[in-house]
């Protein structure tokens, strides 16, 4: 009886058609990309038989290697920095009774989710160019900082969820059992937050790895990352190499997100 009265979207006429269309639109292009990464010919539109040739070919391209390592370097650094900051932010926002400024603080932390990337990109471009002029430093630091900033909310959300589910009596119990503040953090709080932090780390890593807009604005000459390099390649001529790289990136993302899902699910 309760079932009949509740609203069930899957019973609306045409639901199945819409759902199938959406899935096809979402996944067919990706499926084609993966399929054509195994194409024997040069074309990305005409199937000429199965081959692995694009994978070693992409790998032998010095430029591809170069941008891949740069991307991984930036993503690793940004994930570590943003997760550290996010952990501290989550500890700061979940350990107190709700205060008046709470919502404001959440909005500030999650700002990168709400402000259009293009705005952040332009703002950082102007800000960093002033610093570049003043200091003369041209290195990867700007990209790492920019990526760290927009990765913070992605790292923050799973960590906060984890902390909110944690019983504060555990910390009281630790202090009762002769642990000082640092020992309490080290032996109780940190191990309990760890799964959230690892999930945050992976989410931040994936987010950094595929950023285009902000990177385009912030990077100096010769600082292409994998996504901006691919974009440049495609603009010149569509290369089957790009398909192979994309497929590998897709694989990495799927692996990390699956691990993220398993980590965050385990709690309950």
């Amino acid at each position: 009886m309760a079932e009949r009265s509740s609203f069930d979207i899957s019973r609306l006429p045409g639901f199945a058609t819409v759902a199938v269309t959406v899935f096809v639109l979402l996944y067919l292009p990706i499926a084609m990309l993966v399929v054509f990464s195994f194409n024997a010919g040069d074309s990305v539109a005409i199937w000429e038989g199965f081959s692995f040739r694009w994978y070693p070919e992409a790998w032998q391209n010095e430029e591809v290697k170069d941008v891949t390592f740069r991307s991984l370097k930036i993503a690793t650094a940004a994930a570590l920095i943003s997760t550290t900051v996010a952990t501290m932010a989550a500890l700061g926002t979940t350990r107190r009774r709700a205060t008046r400024g709470q919502t404001f603080v959440y909005v500030m932390i999650n700002q990168p989710l709400m402000v259009p990337e293009i705005v952040t990109g332009v703002a950082l471009l102007i800000f960093f160019s002033t610093i570049k002029v003043a200091t003369g430093y041209q290195g990867l630091g700007y990209l790492i900082l920019a990526h760290s900033a927009f990765c913070i909310p992605f790292a923050y959300l799973p960590i906060r969820a984890r902390l909110e589910g944690m019983d504060l009596t555990l910390e009281t119990a630790a202090s009762d059992l002769y642990a000082n503040r640092w020992q309490t953090f080290r032996h109780v709080t940190l191990p309990l937050v760890a799964p959230g932090a690892v999930a945050g780390l992976m989410l931040a890593f994936v987010t950094s790895l595929d950023d285009v807009v902000i990177t385009l604005f912030v990077k100096s000459a010769g600082q292409d990352t994998l996504p901006t390099y691919m974009l440049a390649q495609i603009r010149r001529s569509v290369s089957a190499e790009v398909n192979a790289i994309s497929t590998l990136l897709l694989l990495l993302t799927v692996v990390l997100l699956t691990a993220f899902f398993l980590l965050t699910r385990k709690r309950s």
């Binding site: 019983d167 009596t169 555990l170 009281t172 119990a173 630790a174 202090s175 009762d176 059992l177 002769y178 642990a179 000082n180 020992q183 032996h187 109780v188 191990p191 309990l192």
Partner: protein
């Protein structure tokens, strides 16, 4: 003073400020002896947990002092006090094994590894959990978690163990078992236990002494017999066991009931010398006689198995409950409306102090 384990001196605790202020403890003074099983008994919200938190160091008092073995620890942080707590929710560390949970305190105290291992082994044996050493708390039943929580709190060999309603989450059978277990542990370890409960039966059966609390005040401290037989006031008389209350006028050692008869009375602590008073008597201290006592009319009888309760009314309408041992037939032979005479055991009618 070396016989005192914990002392509270005029300890006050007010939560919040201004209009939202809640006085959880209003000037409690109490001395708990070394090695005793002391119970804080009182209804929910009377300030029992607050007093434990002040002793453990999780909260600081608004005024007054807390002393441990004679030294002032009022503002010492919890991790420097040789006092451990068994939490109502157990608060076992979910990421550590049973053995690691028990070893946590000694480890934080910086004891050598071999000594920790030895302590853990001894504690596991003490609470009979040797088989469970490598389990995580999530894989244990409620009663087993309770034992681990006890072992964990005892492992650092504290001077005082605080237990905040540790048995309230257990079902009746397990609770009875754990009551015996707790008492055994206290005797075996010789550690001072401060036990909190709102269950008067639990308090009476387990404690060396009981402190009865109400609304942030300590009403009476004494051994279970004293608390039961000489309640200090009406609240204690009705909260611990059942009591009948009679109104009348006191002159010397005799009381003229409002219902007419004159009876000899015992005076409780702080009882007035004369004038209008209230006196209390337990239902099992009253006999039903054929003649010679106070005339009453039976209103109802209620069968409880071993006991039968008979509710009778005096001539002024006062209701008196009498507890009778049920006879073999189960029928005490008293019917609503029949006339009876109530005879009070000598010394059982206690004059209470005036309510303030």
């Amino acid at each position: 003073m070396s016989e005192t384990a914990v002392e509270a001196r005029e300890t006050r605790k007010v939560y919040g400020q201004g209009a939202a202020a809640v006085t959880a403890l209003g000037g409690v003074s109490l001395a708990i002896r070394k090695g005793e099983f002391f119970t804080l008994l009182g209804p929910s919200g009377c300030g029992k947990t607050t007093l434990l938190k002040l002793i453990a160091g999780f909260e600081s008092p608004t005024a007054g002092q807390i002393l441990l073995h004679g030294s002032d620890i009022t503002f010492d942080p919890p991790n420097t006090r040789p006092v451990n707590t068994v939490f109502q929710s157990y608060a076992l560390f979910p990421h550590l094994t049973v053995a690691e949970n028990i070893g946590f305190g000694p480890k934080m105290q910086g004891r050598p590894k071999a000594e920790i291992a030895e302590t853990v082994k001894r504690m596991l044996a003490l609470v009979r959990m040797e088989q469970m050493a490598d389990r995580k708390p999530g894989q244990l039943s409620g009663g087993q978690q309770q034992r681990v929580a006890l072992a964990r709190a005892l492992a650092p060999a504290p001077k005082v163990l605080l237990l905040d309603e540790p048995l309230s989450a257990l079902d009746l059978k397990l609770r009875k078992e754990m009551q015996i277990e707790l008492k055994r542990l206290q005797v075996e370890t010789g550690i001072t236990f401060i036990f909190v409960t709102h269950d008067q039966e639990e308090a009476l059966t387990m404690s060396d002494r009981i402190g009865v609390m109400q609304a942030g005040r300590l009403l009476q401290v004494g051994d279970p017999r004293a608390i039961y037989t000489r309640p200090a006031n009406r609240f204690v008389a009705s909260f611990i066991g059942e009591s009948n209350f009679l109104h009348g006028t006191l002159r010397g050692n005799e009381m003229t009931l409002d219902a007419g008869p004159v009876l000899p009375v015992e005076k409780g602590d702080n009882a007035p010398a004369a004038g209008p008073v209230t006196a209390a008597i337990r239902p099992e201290q009253i006999r039903i006689a054929a003649g010679g006592g106070i005339p009453a009319k039976v209103r109802d009888t209620v069968y409880f198995g071993t006991d039968t309760h008979c509710v009778a009314t005096l001539s002024d309408g006062t209701e008196i409950t009498v507890r009778l041992q049920s006879p073999v037939s189960g029928d005490v032979g008293l019917h609503p409306g029949s006339d009876v005479h109530l005879r009070f055991e000598p010394g059982a009618l206690i004059v209470l102090p005036e309510e303030t």
